[in-house]
Amino acid sequence: MRATVAAGGQASHGIQLGVVQEVLLALLAREPSHGYQLRAGLQLALGPLADALKEGQVYVTLTRLERAGLVSSERVGQANQSERKVYDLTPAGQQRVVDWLADTTWPKPAPAEFHLKLVAAAAAGLADPRRIVDAQRNVVLTELVVVQRAALSEPPLSVAGLLLEGVVLRLQADLHWLEACARFWAEPAAPNRATSREDGHERSAARPRPADDVRA
């Protein structure tokens, strides 16, 4: 999730296609709709996050869904206006919606890599794990501030505010864990920190000095 953001330095192509597909199908489950109605429904649910919805993304996705046989479309004439497409679910599309609602897949947080980074940094005497924790905490904290401010600008009972609250609570959980990391690696008996001290010799002049003297 967050750890994978911009991993390849690629520009964002808007909201992940999968999410949009499933949501559009679900929005069509009640009644046939125009593309612009579907887009408005998505925008309401996302609030300030709707910026991520690129112009045309809804229409591109609907075209793909139609090609995949999950939706059908019909051109409907409107008084004094050009014809507009109305989309409807096919039986296959309905089945996909049912499957999606029943799906309990949940994005997992990914603390293992960070944990191993701390362990390796300590073991190799490359850096003080606490500095790494501090840097990471600053990043997460700044992210949390961004999202919490967006949440505070939403009116009470905003549906998008609920989404933002979910993001805030997850980031808060990350911060709690980083706090635990900071406490653990501050212990004089933490693994490898003790070992390297017993070694009694500097491995490299360039090695950052663990700041044990800050709080001996």
Binding site: L141, L152, L164
Partner: protein, 243 residues
């Protein structure tokens, strides 16, 4: 000078001989007028002690504090108490409302103690309760209010004497998520209105209401971040929508 609060080399030691605890180990702080500063750190890091020294509720072992340009360390108890009344509004985690007084009576109390006329104090208290969205609860006792409502009454009380600075100690510490949001909205509104605030907390959400965030550990400041209000770029990434 537009500094409302200034502290230099603040130190606080509890106990003596072998049982000493160094709660603060040399803290410097400047708070500008209209600024909201959040001080974050785990429990036991010294942040509550710092707040008590800044507000003149305790005297430091070493170091100096200035409130509105006036050094408070040398003041006698009476002068210190007057300074607190005039310049400081306190907000505590446990609200500290008087249970036998109604909401409006709690809010007007500091103004009455400061010598304002009962009618002026009541008028201001009613205004403040309206400002925190509790005008219709003015006559209720704290026991009949929710946690979030009680804290909003406590914040109104803190504003009763139009303090130079509000000092808040874990203002969301006893609140659930919904009540936390209510209180954060209120604190953010005060910030936007130019109220100087120093908030100590371990709740990262509170930082969203601040202009500046200071991280504290083991009695010292370890990090300081200015929290600019720029465009909220990475929102959708953070929500897992993009990637």
């Amino acid at each position: 000078m537009s500094e409302v609060l200034r502290a230099r080399d603040l130190r606080m030691t509890y106990g003596r001989d072998t049982g000493t605890v160094h709660a603060l180990e040399g803290v410097d702080l400047d708070v500008e007028r209209g600024e909201t500063v959040a001080i974050m750190g785990p429990s036991g890091c010294g942040k509550s002690t710092l707040l008590q020294l800044l507000g003149g509720l305790q005297r430091s072992t070493r170091g100096q504090v200035w409130v509105d340009g006036r050094q408070i360390d040398a003041l006698n108890e009476r002068a210190l108490s007057r300074m607190r009344q005039r310049a400081i509004g306190f907000v505590f985690q446990a609200f500290h409302l008087l249970e036998e007084l109604t909401a409006v009576e709690n809010v007007e109390l500091p103004a009455l103690l400061a010598g304002r006329s009962p009618s002026a104090a009541r008028h201001r208290a009613a205004e403040l309760l309206d400002q925190v969205g509790l005008a219709e609860h003015a006559g209720r006792l704290p026991v009949s209010l929710s946690g979030g409502e009680r804290q909003r009454v406590a914040i109104a009380r803190a504003l009763s004497n139009d303090p130079l600075v509000v000092l808040a100690d874990e203002p969301t510490g006893n609140l659930d998520s919904v009540a936390t949001s209510e209180v954060l909205r209120l604190l953010d509104g005060l910030r936007a209105a130019g109220q100087t605030q120093v908030i100590v907390t371990h709740d990262a959400r509170v930082a969203a209401t601040a202009d500046r965030l200071i991280s504290m550990r083991d009695g010292v400041f370890v990090e300081e971040t200015r929290l600019d209000r720029g465009p909220s770029g990475p929102l959708s990434e953070l929500a897992g929508l993009e990637g």
